[in-house]
């Protein structure tokens, strides 16, 4: 591939991810509104929020690490986008593989932990302790699921995994071949989004949005950007692993929005679990389903 083409792809992929991510945020808020019989926010609301937050006059920084933490939180996902193939663009997905991708998806939580640590707000520290515990909880089923898919496909190359599924048609989709892993993956994905009932680290009524408590202005704006990347990354990863990626942009976007709609619609019907309940639930059901799924694959 020509280097120029590669550079264009590397710029374009996060950009597309950001725009799609914003629409996903909008969808999430609209679904919440519909479930609560409200009208919901206007179309450009996620963009308004981000522009406003970056345009605030007061920008309270708590120090260098605080700044770096936010950059890490966004940067981890921006790097992850270049490893996620979309129709027509592969970026560096062929060279990276899923394992690198999983590592990159952990960086935002760690960056957030660093940044929040410097804010020295007890609510923030509790939030981050919970966020890292939650990460421990959902990463184990996630790794099992990804391992299962990679084992069945015989490769950790995401481009190849997608190509095999697309070549064989619907019957070779991950979700049809490995339904147990697909279910476990869906639960793990829901937990990784940090939405109710797994919303333990945001918990506005209890710890005042945890990690976000001291964030204002562009720092909060950065986290809003991060959220849109997060929604995009998780749903696209799921679509690539289990639903055969996308041959065209239309079916790619359709699949990713539909996949995301499942956890989001569930989320607004439930209250929140406690941390230990989350751990127990995550280490029991998705892990069990995942392990049985792997046994079938082997």
């Amino acid at each position: 591939m020509a280097p120029l083409e590669l550079i264009i792809e590397l710029v374009l992929m996060p950009l597309v991810a950001f725009i799609v991510g914003l629409m996903m945020v909008l969808m999430m808020r609209r679904i919440a509104a519909k479930l609560q019989r409200r009208v919901g926010p206007p179309f450009f609301q996620p963009l308004y929020d981000i522009v406003k937050l970056h345009g605030k006059r007061t920008q309270v920084s708590h120090g260098m690490i605080h700044d770096i933490g936010i950059v890490m939180a966004m940067g981890g996902y921006i790097a992850a986008e270049t490893l996620l193939p979309v129709p027509g663009m592969n970026g560096i997905a062929e060279k990276g593989g899923i394992i690198t991708l999983l590592y990159l998806m952990m960086i935002p939580s760690l960056g957030l932990a660093l940044g929040v640590g410097q804010c020295a707000n007890p609510n923030g520290s509790i939030g981050i302790a919970r966020a890292l515990t939650a990460m421990l909880a959902y990463d184990i089923p996630l790794v099992i699921v990804v391992f299962g898919v990679a084992y069945a496909a015989g490769t950790t190359n995401l481009v190849e995994i997608i190509a095999t599924q697309q070549a064989g048609g619907f019957e070779t989709w991950g979700a049809v071949q490995m339904p147990l892993l697909a279910i476990a993956g869906l639960i793990a994905m829901h937990a990784s989004l940090g939405k109710q009932p797994f919303e333990i680290y945001i918990a506005p009524a209890e710890i005042a949005t945890g990690p976000m408590v001291e964030m204002g202005g562009k720092y909060l704006g950065g986290l809003f950007v991060m959220q849109s990347f997060q929604l995009y990354t998780t749903s696209v990863l799921y679509v690539s692993l289990f639903l055969g990626g996308g041959t065209t942009w239309f079916d790619f976007l359709l699949k990713s929005f539909l996949v995301l709609a499942i956890p989001v619609s569930i989320a607004y019907l439930f209250p929140r679990y406690r941390t230990e309940d989350l751990l127990r639930l995550m280490w029991k059901w998705p892990v069990m389903l995942g392990l049985i799924g792997i046994a079938f694959v082997m």
Partner: protein
């Protein structure tokens, strides 16, 4: 309210021709995305849940509740403020990121309302902090609240809602009223005068006799002691 009208509008000097367009965009986004602070003082707060939830749905205007002052744009004072509450309100107000707006809901914030004779409430809110908008009524219905918020949005869009600048320009006046209520040694953790310098909003009313009094009594802020677990007291011998 009348004092707010008198603030001279100072245009920021920008050399970049695109800056105007950009400012316009930011102002528009500011008006379309407002985060309310969840801090409800009096009985008027009871009308906010219906304004936010399914019946009247504030989110369609881009208004949503937020939980910490750092994240919020609007401080809603929903009813009477007792003197004890007012202290917290001022602490919260000073920690919010500017541009910030204050809305006084209920008659009690306008002139004391039916608590006029009470010894424990602050009567006029705009003596203690600049109020951008009042919504009178005992208590105003959600329609009135939303109507008021829409007016505020309009004023933000045109750049009129500049109450927060008034706090810096006339800090001495507000501090004086606060001192009258809370005593001469009243001090907040926020250094308003330095902030005023930072935003280039040092006006004639920023410094005065009351800020001089503040300087006399001011104690340097100390970081809270960090420790793990409980401290066990040694029993006295």
């Amino acid at each position: 309210m009348s004092s707010i009208k008198q603030i001279p509008v100072i245009e920021e000097k920008r050399t970049n021709p695109l800056a105007r367009v950009f400012d316009e965009l930011v102002r528009f986004c500011r008006s379309r995305s407002l985060f309310l602070l969840h801090y409800c003082t009096g009985c008027g707060a009871i009308e906010l849940p219906p304004a936010m939830t399914s019946r009247f749905d504030m989110e369609r205007l881009g208004i949503q509740p937020m939980v910490s002052p750092r994240q919020a744009d609007i401080l809603l004072i929903t009813g009477y403020v007792s003197i004890k509450t007012l202290k917290r309100v001022i602490l919260t107000y000073e920690q919010m990121g500017s541009p910030k707006y204050v809305i006084g809901i209920c008659s009690c914030t306008v002139n004391g309302g039916m608590y006029w004779q009470s010894y424990a409430t602050a009567k006029k809110l705009d003596e203690y902090m600049p109020v951008d908008l009042y919504i009178a009524g005992c208590m105003p219905r959600p329609e009135a609240v939303i109507e008021g918020l829409q007016q505020l949005m309009q004023r933000i869009k045109t750049g009129e809602a500049k109450g927060w600048e008034d706090y810096y320009r006339n800090y001495d006046y507000y501090l004086g009223n606060q001192q009258k209520l809370f005593g001469n040694d009243w001090q907040t953790p926020t250094d308003v005068i330095t902030e005023a310098k930072h935003y280039d909003l040092l006006g004639e009313g920023t410094l005065g006799e009351h800020t001089a009094l503040l300087e006399q009594h001011q104690q340097p802020l100390e970081a809270l002691e960090m420790r793990l677990g409980h401290q066990v007291k040694e029993p006295a011998e």
